[in-house]
Point group: C2
Chain length 141, copies 2
């Protein structure tokens, strides 16, 4: 592999496709999101709306911040709040034709990147581990 090969790498070869990406919906109660995060073990997952369009990301950190009160852990908020009230909506989004360098630069500050096609349909995620694995493969040679 040359540096040229790496810069021309198709990011779609590295993504986890949407059908095997755990996600939750905007209208789910927070309790459901916490259950999905605990059951899968993931720190954060994408949030989609009922049309399967990407709306944001929800994490254990966001949920815990929301239920940690001054006196105690306010667990009752889990059933009262919805995912869309707590999720982070302002996230960088990769398009399917974005180049490797664009993905690498964005992954410096994101543990994974969500990928959409031209019409805005969610195609999957690009986790940091996939980029690190590919770069390790390149440097090993």
């Amino acid at each position: 592999l040359t540096t040229e090969d790496v810069l021309n790498k198709d990011i779609m070869d590295l993504i986890i496709p949407s059908d095997v990406v755990a996600h939750v919906q905007t209208i789910n109660p927070l309790e459901h999101a916490l259950l999905v995060l605990v059951k899968t073990g993931y720190s954060a997952v994408p949030v989609l709306d009922i049309d399967n369009k990407l709306k944001g990301i929800i994490s254990k950190t966001m949920i815990l911040n929301n239920i940690f009160g001054i006196e105690r852990i306010e667990f009752e908020k889990l059933s009262k709040r919805k995912v869309q009230e707590v999720m982070k909506a302002d996230i960088p989004i990769l398009k399917v034709h974005d180049d490797f360098l664009t993905a690498l630069k964005l992954s410096i500050d994101q543990t994974f990147l969500c990928v959409e096609d031209e019409e805005g349909f969610f195609k999957g995620i690009l986790p940091r581990s996939a980029l690190l694995k590919y770069l390790n493969h390149f440097l090993q040679d």
Copy 2:
């Protein structure tokens, strides 16, 4: 930067030094660890013993897995359990003279790597973002 420069990069130039790394101690109650994780916003932090030797890693995921019961969230476990009962002790550890490629390979499966000196004293952590930032810098040129 050439590939040669990258392969010879000193990992100590990239680490977060121990004095600015949030950590907890083996004998702390789980409640304290959760509080540190929520206050700092970190998903996971190193666990040190009273001699400041590295003993493992504790994460929000490990704590939540521990208190999520079948019927309800057993948050009384937070004050009853100690960090050492829940932490992950079997973690890869970088030595200060390990090379860049060793760090890169280990970072494929770890969100950060703990770094020790020859005598086993904790020197800091190497987060994935530091490796990604350096590799992006290399490929940008």
